[in-house]
Amino acid sequence: MNNKENFLKGIFSENPVFMLVLGMCPVLAITTTVTNALGMGLAFTFVLIMSNVIISLIRKFIPNDIRIPAYIVVIATVVTIVDMFMHAYAFSLYESLGIFIPLIVVNCVVLGRAEAFASKNGVFASFIDALGMGAGFTLSITLISTVREVLGSGTFLGIDIFPFDLVQPASIFVIAPGAFITLGILLGIINTIRFKRAKKAQAKE
C-alpha cells in the first residue's frame, strides 16, 4: 500500500464515521454548528496524529501484555495538552465543546488506530494513516453539521443564508432527535450509493 492509498482509505473505504460507524458520541453531540464541527475535527486530528506517531515510536519498548493501558496513557496525555491549549487560546470553542474534548480519550477510533495500525507500522506510515483518518472524520462531521445547521437554524458558519425569513428553519435538527435522524438518513443515502456501485461492478463482470 503506498502513501496515497494509505491516506485516502481514511476518507473513503475506511471512513471512521460513515463506513466503520465508530466514535459516535462527538459525531452526534457537537454537530449543531459547522464551527463546532471544524474545531472538534481539528482537535481530533491533532490527537490522532500525535498518539499514532508516539505509539509508533515506542511500539518496540511496550510489553505486549500491558499495551492497551500504555496506549491509553499516551492518548490521555495528548488530550490533556489539547484541552489546556483550547482553554487558553480558544475559550468560546472550549465552552461549546464542553466535556467532549476530554472524552476524545475514550473515542474508539483513536485507540482503534493505535492498536490496528500504529503498533505494527513505521512512524511515517502511522502519520499518514492518522492524517487520513482525521481528514475523513473532519469531513464527515462537517457534512453532518452543515445539514443540521442549514436546516435547523438557517445559517452556515453563523451567517444567515435565508434572508428576510423566506424559510422558517426547523429547530428539531439542532436539538437531540435531529442528530440521530440526520445521521441515520445520511447513512442510508450513502448505503444506497454504495449498493448501486456494487451492483454496477457486478454487472460489469
Partner: protein, 193 residues
C-alpha cells in the same frame, strides 16, 4: 439539599437528562449490543454497577487528592486509569464471588472501559460541583436511565428485524432513526418537572 430535591434530581437524571438520548454518551455500545434484549439487560446492569462504583472513586480522588494538591489538570489521565482499574477489579471480583452473574455480564465488562458514559458522568459530577450524596444519586440515576433506554431500544430492534425496510436502511441507519424518535418522546418528560 432535602429529600424532595434529591428525588427530583434522580428523576431528572433518569428521564429528562437521559445520558444516551439527550447527551449522546455511550452511543457505541448502545448501537452495538442492543440487537437482543437479553444482552441489553446484561450491558445495562454492568453499566449501573461500573458507573456507580467509578463515580464514587473518581469523585473522592478528585476532591481528596487532586484538588488539595492543585493537580486538577491531571483529572482526565487519573480518571481513565481509575475507570480501567475498576472495570478490571469488578471483573475479577464477580468471577470469584458470583460465577452466575459473571456468566451473564462477563463479555460486557471489558467493553465498558471505552463506554464514554462512564468517563462522561465522572467529569459531569466534577463540573457540577455535586456533594457526595448528590453525586451518588445522580450517578445511579444516570446509569439506571441508560439501562432503561438500552432495554427499551433492544425490544424495538427485535421487532424491527421482521419489518420490511429498504435494504440500504437496514442495521445502523434505521436504528439511529428509531433512537431519534425515542429521543423526541423523551423530550416530553421535560414538561413534567
Amino acid at each position: 439539599m432535602n429529600f424532595g430535591q434529591l428525588v427530583a434530581l434522580a428523576f431528572s437524571a433518569i428521564l429528562i437528562q437521559n445520558v444516551m438520548l439527550t447527551q449522546f454518551l455511550g452511543t457505541c455500545p448502545f448501537l452495538g449490543v442492543s440487537k437482543k434484549s437479553q444482552s441489553a439487560i446484561g450491558m445495562g446492569l454492568a453499566v449501573i454497577f461500573v458507573i456507580t462504583l467509578s463515580s464514587i472513586l473518581t469523585w473522592s480522588v478528585y476532591w481528596l487528592v487532586l484538588d488539595p494538591l492543585g493537580l486538577e489538570y491531571m483529572r482526565t489521565i487519573v480518571f481513565i486509569l481509575i475507570i480501567s482499574g475498576v472495570v478490571q477489579f469488578v471483573e475479577m471480583f464477580i468471577k470469584k464471588t458470583a460465577p452466575a452473574i459473571y456468566k451473564m455480564l462477563g463479555i460486557y465488562l471489558p467493553l465498558i472501559t471505552t463506554n464514554c458514559a462512564v468517563l462522561g458522568v465522572a467529569l459531569i459530577n466534577i463540573n457540577k460541583e455535586f456533594n457526595f450524596i448528590e453525586m451518588v444519586v445522580y450517578s445511579v440515576g444516570i446509569s439506571v436511565g441508560y439501562a432503561l433506554v438500552i432495554y427499551v431500544f433492544s425490544t424495538i430492534r427485535e421487532r424491527i428485524e421482521k419489518a420490511p425496510i429498504p435494504e440500504s436502511f437496514k442495521g445502523t441507519p434505521i436504528a439511529l432513526i428509531i433512537a431519534g424518535l425515542m429521543s423526541i418522546a423523551f423530550i416530553g418528560f421535560a414538561g413534567i418537572l
